[in-house]
Symmetry: D4
């Protein structure tokens, strides 16, 4: 595997801007496909292999480790971190002021160059207000990957006229992401009303028999609307990745 | 507790018809509140205590035991048995030709007097064709308890226009029973569209993550439509009991 | 769907009291069936569709979002919020002093007009003292919906004479809500002793094999007393909704 | 560990009756504490260590293996086998006509000497008719161990007057075994009404959310009546063992 | 909603071929959006709403019901039935000789006109030989929907060189369906090696801790390869629907 | 039901000591079988019905409620509260200095008269040091009920010689309570080595697949040593109740 | 990767014996690392990569597929198939008379050359007679891989003296495989008594709370004896593989 | 059982160093096989029985108890404690300054003599950075037991080239420990690529359907790579014990 052009160009530009010296740049151009930070091997070839850069799953990492990655990749690669706690965000922002924090979506992001817009559009539909953080994680991820995305919130099935009001707009999207907790019925209803791919994200909204999102997950896996696919509970990021993978077919 | 008038009248009428002799009738009038068949104590006072006669849960009983009960209560009480296997039905019908079998709903029933119609009407709504056996068990139970019931089948949410077509009729019922397997989303959608009580029955229709009805059960317990209540998986009988209890308030 | 008379009258009265100006009122009278607060689409037609106003499920919402709703609907609609944390309650009360907090039942409520009493009466029976918060949530909900409700606490089956002492009173209610944790056996016992509808609420009281309320939930779903229906764990609100839906049949 | 007197006496008596020759008897008197049948090491000292002989758990053994054990121990030890399928019973009876089969309780038993009655009495109470096989397994086990036992069937909580009718008799027992499926509530009610030890046996009677007996099991483990202990689902044998262990204290 | 041109054309052509008389055709042209067979409302508009015709889920239906549908829709619509038992297949083939049976994939299919090939190609990859029935169900479904699909079987991760051998070909597809039981690890490995959308189908292959497919399901939901989406256990049909929805974007 | 002599004597003695005035005492002597504190109906007859006084389950109650009970029953009844948090203990001790706190066993207790020693002895055996809090809860409960109990700690099966060292002493007890977390194997080993009743208490000690005590619970329910009975996870109190019920047979 | 010498030698020998013609042999020598039978890619390099040949997991394969593999690999490779049903065994034996069937262990095996004995010895210890089929599967697997193995059956913890009798012999093995169902306690006890590696195999022996082997599985995973590792339920084959991998270190 | 030479030598050396007086030393030489600290019986013979000293499982113990053990065994035995909270570490370090804390691996350790290196080498491979604490626990344990171990971190299957880069080195180890959360697929991939024993440790890394490590656990138990064995979730210690038991065979 070879480095792709963007990566090489980014390293050279970083030298030009004085952010890397010649030795460091040389080291990086001797490409092993990942950057080795000791604790982490950041996969630089993922963009070549499956079209999207590696993203940091922040849970279970220390603030220091996440800070290291943002610092190290500055000026070389766009970076996104998901499931960032407020404390971690605060630490990283203090250390790397170029990073942007999205508190609702619990993400950190830094961009070293403009993101080229890709074709395709994603509609992110939520059952209730409490599903917004997951929807926002999905929206930010699409944005980082260059795909247009729009959130339609609080259109759950208990008041189904709210959904019908927005249906025209939702149908215009190439892919629909449905974000719903509790019984997750919205995925089946939307799946029966649109013709494009539907990616369902169960959320941990609810209590008791909601089983921290498992009821919604099971519901969505059993959807009577054929062609609905499902990702992990609260995994707005994964749904967005799937949606972006789908949109990039659409050339 | 005393015997109620219907019971006493039934015993006397059976004497008159020669179906009971004087000794037997005397024994029965010394009322202990149940009829003791050795293996089974058939609760004769349940109708007084909670408005509906005891019903035989046939699963786990032998054909002989169920046959005993139908034979013993002949001419004295209306009797309903649920979850009857084809083999048991065949045995009981051979022994008690007065009993009626409903193969789809898996019930046996015998009536010793006309069932007095009660006020109220029940709509039984199913998501798919495969949910019909459970719906039929519910319908037969309502009928045995004197409550009008009508089945609206195959109106699941994957083709939601089928539901809207029948909505007027469904709304006319006092109580709606929703019978659905797989993801069970129909309960939430119906619960959001009608104003009366909704009793949801999850069914074991589906496979894999349907978990033999548990996905639908969990889905219904988490319904975002407030006021939906739930009974056990495949329990059409229980849903009908609840519906009939509700309808009898409506005087 | 049209707005109902109460809603229109409330908006006009708010203009009269100077709480809304003409522009705002006009906007609201152009009715889309819900009020759009950005994060939330508050369903104003639910009262028309299923007889009871939408209620705020506060868990997973921010104090600010809940405060927005109370502020926005002031003078226009009665509002109830459930599962309110102490911190959220404190915030909302500071911002909206017209709101009333019930700490035991974890609710916030505001009324813009007197609640018209509806027919019917609900008995709320608890197994133990620790089940009281859920019972209280049910009681407050009934009250907001205009239905009379009375709590009978600590009559669990381990000392069954306590239940028999109150049975007369309990039987007088149209609907009985049974609130019980641990093994939840009270629902079956009550279901066998009364003739009206019984709605069972499992609670998360207990530990270990109580499985955060799942043992009680399973127990109640398997009730040998026919006609007991069940709602989600700790869902006093949902049980009350079901009870009120049932009582409104009783005209 | 030494052989106990009963064992030695039994071996000698078998020699006397010509059922064992001197060689075989000698081998058996060189006691290793178990009889080695190749596939099975039948624990002969268990009666010394914990008061009751080893019993054959027939499930998962072949009819031949079970037949070997009955044949080998004939005239030497009382033998009980539980969870015997009809096919296995037929095979063993053909080979060992001295063995007795209890079809309802699914046991095989042979006795080589009269069973000495032990003090104490056990009441076995069942919720429904379908729980009888488990109750019968418990009754047969008690009988084989010399302890008096009596079954009180079909006194479940949905018609609680049936239980109160038998309460006097039940209270007279030293230990009460409660056998119940579905929601298993009977254990708590009985546990609250008697002062002696209560051993609860959940049964797999029920369907759907009965979870093959797990609902009853969980219910019983959470019993609000203190001092109820529980054995495995359908384990009438184990409950009887526990009851007999308890009764033998009572000297 | 209006009928689409294909449907109308099909009805008219059936009249021309003498398969429908004028009355029947007229009835069908008065379109309610579904065909009502009493037990089943076959959704004819699904093709308009979400691009693919309704498919019969045969499990839980009687052979007669499935036969009715094939007979009724003959010459009017392409029909696919999934999860067909051998007995049902035999019955339907006897009654409707125009129907084709795929024994491995457990499907029945009939076509009334040539299927127009759609753009896009699907690779169906299986971990082991035992996963083939599910893969075949997916392949047949793609074929019925006009989408090209090819199966790459037995390339599981325990011998990962088998996968690398086929990787070139797999990467050429627009969508990859990964079918795997046991631990389901293949989905993550493939998801890390291709850039297009990956739909994972867990299968019930395995035993013990395979939990009838739940281990593979959980594994796939947790895939560390971002953008893998999942459908129900053994749901080859659903995966194919999703893949076809995705391919139709690709114009 | 009548009050028992102890209760009446206690009330009179409290009058004599000036702790109750005549009015209060009169009220209490008009016995309803429980003391009604509004939130709680303290069951005073339980001692008559099943031999042991009611005990306060403190979890889910407020410190105030528990304080009320100790205050109200002072001088009238011995009182035990279990599962008491440190905060609750602090509050109650401040308000009722006569109450004794056991921090390890998480209990509060007050005695108004000397506890009469009962016959029988209980051995409480723990697998590890981390099981001690549950063992201590059991020990304190036995003590409050007048039954002798002794703890044998840290004799788990990974070093089985530690158990054999104590076996003589353990065998001397009438009942053995086995307290074990993780895999709970100790119950089977002990059950195979003693002849008296064995009550097993699974504990929540362990992590991961210990499933908060469920692994130990399942292990114990499946014990191959016949006659082992089981109580809820961490339920030292319940095991002690069962042991005391058993010991009181032993007269 | 290159073919190893054994494989090449086997192919040439098969040519010599006339079992393969030159064309076939040439095809096989152009080695892709697996043999492609259409439905199956039989991994021929596994022996090089991880020391043991691939083994056929027969469940979910058709008798024809398994027969194909035995036929195709005849004279070229030793072959073992596990979890073979009686029907499949019958079919394969008819077609390939050189194959040997082990009915108890449910295996089929064929050898084309003598198996070279490897160093090391394995003790396979079972808790009860019902665990023998799994133990036998393990024993046959060891034998096919050239490792000595011996079964010690029915030494479960309920009669722990049976284990101590065999301990000397068991300790002599390099690796101990413990096969146990129900509560699986034997693994912990053995793990505490031997110093070598212990591989635990839970079996599905038991009922109710045995959860088809999950109780034993959980028990073994929580073993307080450090260094016990676990394989899937009933997976005697996997345990043997692990044991053989371990023994081959021992050179 | 006798004390082993190391233990005796250690006690004498401690007397020589003045850390123990003669009385204490005498007491310790009267060996019961464990040291009795009241709350804990520290098993001193475990090293004789199964080759490795007992290790303190700190969770559920108080800091005081753990401090007691380190203090008591000082100069007499090497001691390792696992799952140590930061608070406990702080307390113990203050009291016993000779103890070393590993914060990442959550261990405390003290050595009274040099650890003799044992033969064999262990490779510890992690899927991601978040799995490092568990890997570190394993590494420290190996080190305390004298076995060489090396960590290869962050080589998960989503970027499989990272693993191939390190494969040479990994293959050189005698035993491979694979530490992975989420879907745990790395165990199967590694198991297919190496020929030595593989011990898999699932970790609780992940969220939602990761089920706190159960998905990885199930995945690993179902590994299609034969011969992979599994330990409890997050149990780095147990995996290291197993690896060391295996390595000690290798003499």
């Amino acid at each position: 595997m070879n480095m792709n052009h963007d990566m090489i160009r980014n390293i050279l530009a970083a030298v030009q801007r004085g952010e890397l010296d010649v030795e460091q740049a040389a080291g990086r151009l001797q490409d092993k496909g990942y950057i080795d930070l000791g604790h982490t091997k950041f996969d630089m070839h993922r963009v070549t292999r499956n079209g999207f850069p590696e993203v940091i799953y922040a849970e279970g990492k220390t603030p220091e480790q996440v800070g290291d990655i943002f610092e190290r990749l500055r000026g070389e690669s766009n970076v996104l971190a998901t499931r960032v706690s407020p404390e971690m965000a605060e630490y990283v922002l203090r250390r790397c002021p170029h990073v942007r924090h999205n508190a609702l979506g619990r993400t950190l992001a830094s961009t070293c160059e403009d993101i080229t817009p890709k074709p395709g559009a994603v509609a992110i539909v939520t059952a209730g207000t409490s599903d917004l953080p997951v929807a926002e994680e999905a929206r930010v991820t699409c944005e980082m990957f260059g795909t247009r995305a729009r959130v339609f919130s609080d259109v759950g099935v208990a008041g189904i006229h709210r959904l019908f009001d927005r249906l025209e707009d939702i149908r215009r999207a190439d892919v629909v992401i449905v974000v719903a907790g509790m019984e997750g019925a919205l995925a089946s209803v939307v799946g029966g009303l649109v013709s494009g791919p539907v990616v369902a994200v169960p959320t941990s909204v609810g209590y008791g028999a909601a089983l921290s999102g498992f009821s919604a997950l099971l519901c969505m896996l059993n959807s009577c609307a054929s062609g609905v696919t499902v990702v992990n509970i609260d995994n707005g990021f994964g749904a967005a990745c799937a949606a972006c993978r789908i949109c990039s077919l659409n050339k």
